[in-house]
């Protein structure tokens, strides 16, 4: 609302929106009959998920022997997929928490969908350690609770247990953060609805009235949750990296892992947000809210984090050589030139080389390049986890134990099934909730709407649309534009 907006800052909401139009544009997708594209997508996602569900049941029924894990490769596609999904789940809280603290207003266009994506990705991730336990019916053993076995406690010194705490906390906090943000928007849906629909949204909106005191507390809550979710999001992937870094496996036992994993997580998370947002904005017609500016901002984050990841790869290589430790040197030589060279190549190409295209502004702003890049990055980040996990384990200290690990149909089916689960949940979310935060977009309209800021802005005190239009016509004659609420910059 208040505060100075730089005149060179591009608008975040285009199309001369009024508050009512924002409501109309963002809520109506939940009110319409689902489009053909949505129905096809939903059927496809549910089918793919069913395949995954079958493979999960197959694993539970027959045991982990249905996977190609062996004596040394005891983590394969399962943990690769786990780390991959957790990484993807980092963008949502990063966008909503860290960017909120940094006052990056462009987050309002994408935060809602990114948070939803986070929650769904963490659900997909959490599945893997659970089924990897083999006896999933004993999964509650991972929680410390007074039990009749002693009580026998969990090992609080183990990074695997830290992971249990980190991921369950992350999931809970993300869910609460997301839902609290949704409550006012559910109230907006409620107030437009009738009959049964009104009853459902009345329940979901928790009785929200929009009282000034409630808004004040709501903003406080968002800000403090953001403040504590920021170290949380960094801690989660740090702890995931501890699963590897605290072991004594060459190639894993490195101090660079926490920052390198966190950067990689943000990198892949933003890529997934872009994949989803590019499709969503097109199908739901939200180009005025998720603009090319938003895409460019995310591409900048991708460029930075991709480069950090690249530097980390090269640092690892250098340190392996510089350490003079032959096992470490072999681990890295084996990654690049061993039997899994193709995954190393895929990782380097997709994660390090391809994002460098984004140094060029016109490519950062190109939707197609961005879309393909986002897919590329997610493939690359999957390869990164595969390189770290399977490649390293397939070449143990003992050459007699060496093997070539490749997944069985069950492992492939489970992985593809989690994608089905992810997209099923996302598609349901698109139907029942506004994918862009309605109240938050309204709150940035006067500092982010294209009629107030940017090259097409109308005159300063244009509070009402009709004044704005009249002034726009006057300005068009003069050929000069001024900024809302800002000093006028004219060159005579």
């Amino acid at each position: 609302m208040s505060g100075h907006v730089s005149p060179i800052r591009p608008p975040l909401v285009t199309g001369n929106k009024t508050y009512h139009q924002i409501t109309e544009d963002l809520i109506s997708p939940t009110e319409r009959v689902p489009s053909k594209a949505w129905i096809i997508g939903f059927i496809l996602s549910v089918s793919v998920f069913s395949v995954g569900a079958f493979c999960i049941l197959w694993t539970i029924w027959n045991g982990i022997g249905t996977w190609d894990l062996n004596r040394t490769v005891n983590w394969g596609w399962d943990i690769t997929n786990f780390v991959w999904w957790i990484g993807i789940g980092h963008a949502g809280t990063l966008i909503s928490a860290i960017l909120l603290i940094f006052r990056q207003k462009w987050r309002t266009g994408v935060n809602r969908a990114a948070e939803a994506m986070t929650i769904f990705a963490v659900m997909c991730a959490g599945l893997f350690p659970l089924i990897h336990m083999g006896r999933i019916w004993l999964a509650m053993f991972i929680f410390p609770y007074p039990n009749t076995r002693g009580p026998l406690w969990v090992n609080f010194n183990s990074p695997l247990l830290w992971d249990v705490f980190a991921i369950s906390t992350y999931f809970t906090v993300s869910l609460l953060f997301w839902y609290t943000g949704l409550v006012p928007d559910f109230a907006t849906v409620r107030d437009r609805a009738k009959g049964m629909r009104k009853k459902i949204y009345n329940f979901l909106s928790f009785g929200w009235t929009g009282s000034a005191k409630h808004w004040q507390r709501w903003e406080y809550l968002s800000l403090i949750l953001a403040g504590i979710a920021t170290p949380l999001v960094l801690s989660v992937h740090t702890i995931v990296s501890f699963d590897f870094a605290t072991s004594v496996i060459p190639g894993w036992h490195t101090t660079i892992f926490p920052p390198y994993f966190v950067a990689g997580a943000i990198f892949s998370g933003f890529a997934m947000v872009l994949t989803l947002m590019i499709i969503t904005r097109k199908i739901l017609g939200l180009e005025d809210y998720i603009t090319v500016e938003h895409i460019e901002s995310m591409n900048k984050v991708i460029l930075v984090t991709g480069t950090i990841v690249g530097v980390a790869y090269l640092t690892e290589l250098f340190i392996a050589w510089y350490s003079g430790y032959v096992y470490e040197q072999f681990a890295f030589f084996n990654r690049a030139a061993g039997p899994y060279w193709w995954s190393y190549f895929g990782m380097m190409f997709c994660n390090v080389l391809s994002p460098q295209l984004f140094w060029k502004k016109s490519w950062r702003r190109n939707i197609w390049i961005t879309f393909f890049m986002s897919i590329f990055i997610n493939i690359g980040m999957w390869f990164e986890r595969f390189v770290i996990i399977a490649t390293t384990l397939a070449r143990d200290y003992l050459p007699s134990s060496w093997s070539y690990y490749s997944p069985t149909w069950v492992e492939i089916g489970i992985f593809i099934g989690t994608m089905g689960l992810f997209f099923t949940l996302y598609l349901i979310f698109c139907r029942v909730a506004p994918v862009v935060a309605v109240a938050e977009i309204k709150s940035i309209l006067k500092t982010g709407g294209n009629q107030y800021v940017g090259p097409d802005a109308h005159h300063a005190h244009a509070d009402h649309q009709k004044d704005a239009i009249i002034q726009k016509e006057m300005l068009d004659k003069d050929g000069a534009g001024t900024q809302a609420g800002n000093p006028t910059f004219t060159e005579d």
């Binding site: 609302m1 409501t23 409550v183 808004w215 403090i224 949380l232 801690s235 938050e440």
Partner: protein, 172 residues
């Protein structure tokens, strides 16, 4: 919001700047404002309305501290008193290894506690139905409401229409 069957007069403004001007004037005229309802958080409204700063962060700190203590003391008790086990020759009370879980539980307790507190103090929650004045408040109208028991109806009505609001009346 308690159900008192209040007779409420409210004005709907089209823009938050009009609302803020009206709130300021109402304060100057010493009209007792019942509440203000807006479609989004209007910055700068709280001081004009005279709303005290929220104390939610204090609650958050307390909950967080409970989390810290629960985690750290709990792990300490388990590993030194209840069932001491030596892991890898490390001390029973291996404090650095307790840091991650202590941190996570601090965050968990603070967040869950604050969110629950938020809903309770606002009188919101699953299954709660609060009466609200107008469907357009969550869309694009900015509402200034007066309780007829506290103000003179005629004066408020003329004040609202003079400041550019659409005047309405409803029993809450």
């Amino acid at each position: 919001m308690a159900h008192h069957n209040k007779e409420v007069i409210y004005g709907l403004y089209d823009d938050e700047t009009d609302l803020m001007k009206a709130v300021k004037e109402a304060k100057e005229l010493h009209l007792e404002i019942m509440d203000v309802y807006t479609p989004f958080p209007v910055h700068g409204l709280d001081p004009i309305l005279g709303l005290a700063e929220s104390r939610l962060h204090i609650a958050g700190f307390v909950y967080g501290s409970i989390g810290t203590l629960t985690a750290f003391l709990g792990m300490t008790w388990v590993f030194t008193k209840d069932w001491p086990i030596i892991f890898g020759g490390k001390p029973m009370w291996s404090v650095p290894a307790f840091i991650p879980i202590t941190f996570e539980l601090t965050v968990l307790f603070a967040c869950v506690g604050m969110v629950i507190t938020f809903y309770i103090v606002c009188g919101l929650g699953p299954g709660v139905t609060n009466d609200y004045l107008d469907d357009r408040i969550t869309d694009d109208k900015f509402c200034l409401a007066f309780d007829t028991a506290e103000v003179d109806s005629a004066a408020v009505k003329s004040f609202l229409s003079k400041t550019g609001a659409e005047v309405n009346q409803k029993v809450l």
